[in-house]
């Protein structure tokens, strides 16, 4: 994981105070039907903009298994690699662990893009990994009618939890064995806009 990266050079200072961290933990742990939270304005504005620009410019590889998913994985360039390093670093993982009061040892980071006609589907044969799942959303000016939300459903029959596309949010979810998620089909109202996500699977 290397040396600790200075959090204040990346993250909104609001999220670095003990009081806020305690509030985040309370909200996260009390959320129903499973622990989750959405943190707005998470990165410093310039950092979020720079990541968005890099994700937009990076090479994308389409992955299409019609009855399961359709999206693009974003290839890592030098800028994206720096963000990846930040989220995999012990500094961020310690902060995340403090927010959710759970040890976070390792994060696996990947980036995805969803454009018009992209989606993911719930599928019987795919077991989604239990544990902490985070996604940093750097989708900007997204038309709500285009859909593309990340939706979590649980087998308990509880109301789905919907994460609408929101600029510079860090979304943290504690996924259990019966929690499954999908990205709603992006319709033509999206025009040429795209959903840009950096995902973290945390152990």
């Amino acid at each position: 994981m290397g040396n600790k990266i200075a959090l204040q050079e990346w993250i909104n200072p609001l999220y670095l105070t003990p009081q806020t961290l305690q509030q985040i933990h309370t909200a996260f742990s009390q959320a129903q039907p499973f622990p989750f939270i959405q943190l707005g304005n998470f990165l410093l504005e310039q950092k979020a903009e720079s990541l968005r620009t890099a994700l937009l410019k990076a090479k994308k590889v389409e992955t299409y298994i019609p009855h399961m998913h359709s999206y693009s994985t974003i290839k890592e360039d030098k800028t994206i690699a720096a963000y990846k390093e930040f989220f995999e670093n012990s500094g961020f993982l310690t902060l995340l662990g403090t927010m959710i009061k759970q040890p976070c040892k390792k994060a696996t980071v990947s980036c995805k893009s969803f454009e018009q006609r992209n989606y993911t589907l719930l599928h019987d044969t795919v077991q989604q990994k239990e544990g902490i799942y985070c996604f940093l959303d750097v989708t900007k000016d997204w038309p709500a009618q285009a859909n593309g939300q990340t939706i979590f459903v649980s087998e308990t029959g509880a109301e789905p939890v919907i994460f609408s596309r929101a600029w510079n949010t860090l979304n943290i979810v504690k996924r259990t064995a019966n929690t499954h998620s999908f990205v709603k089909y992006v319709n033509a109202a999206a025009g040429n806009k795209e959903v840009l996500l950096m995902e973290l699977h945390v152990e």
């Binding site: 298994i65 019609p66 009855h67 589907l121 939706i151 999908f182």
Partner: protein
């Protein structure tokens, strides 16, 4: 010369050109040979007045919005017990031994049960149905009757069929059928019958009646 009883029984609904022996022979061959899985599209299938009656009947019925990972559309309740004259007579025609024999001859699928699923579906702008195979053990033939005015390719709403690999995993779209008023699609339901309805892109409605014949 006595009229073929099938023609006699169905001609109040189905256009006669689809009912004679030569047509059935041609359709049987086409159904089996159509790729990527057995299917057939009958054009100008019902008498125009019946399309008009069915369309008017559906205008009086409530379509409920349905939304999931797989679809965004509007659907009626089960129409089997609907008391509207046009709808109940259409259901009686679908479940009649004459129509079932007609489908059995064309599809080669024996012993259809008189139970037929039936519901109205409406796709409006941005509605869609993503890839799936319809497969359930007892479902044998899927059917779709197109009621609303024809949509062009650019307007979306096409029924699209996928090719599959050896493991029956869908690969790519190989057949596209834009919605055509008064056409009737049937396809054999199996692990290979992966299909979808493309997003409707126009400010228009795609209204159908559909369901499954069971065996």
């Amino acid at each position: 010369m006595r009229e073929n009883p099938r023609i006699g029984a169905l001609k109040g609904w189905v256009q006669e050109l689809h009912l004679d022996d030569a047509a059935i022979k041609k359709y049987t061959k086409e159904f089996q040979h159509n790729a990527p899985f057995p299917h057939l599209l009958f054009k100008n299938f019902l008498l125009p007045k019946q399309i008009e009656f069915l369309t008017k009947a559906l205008e009086k019925i409530q379509f409920e919005p349905k939304d999931s990972d797989l679809f965004s559309l509007k659907q009626t309740k089960d129409l089997r017990t609907n008391t509207n004259v046009a709808l109940s007579s259409f259901y009686t025609m679908l479940t009649s031994p004459y129509f079932q024999k007609y489908l059995q001859e064309i599809t080669g699928i024996p012993k259809l049960k008189p139970h037929v699923d039936i519901a109205g579906l409406m796709f409006e702008k941005h509605d869609y149905l993503l890839p799936h195979d319809d497969y359930l053990d007892h479902r044998k033939i899927a059917y779709i009757l197109y009621l609303s005015p024809t949509l062009s390719t650019k307007e979306g709403g096409a029924l699209e069929f996928f090719s599959v690999n050896k493991e029956n995993i869908p690969q790519k779209i190989v057949k596209t059928y834009p919605p055509m008023q008064n056409s009737f699609m049937i396809f054999k339901v199996s692990r290979q019958s992966h299909h979808q309805v493309a997003e409707v892109l126009a400010d228009k409605k795609r209204i159908t009646i559909g369901g499954w014949f069971h065996g």
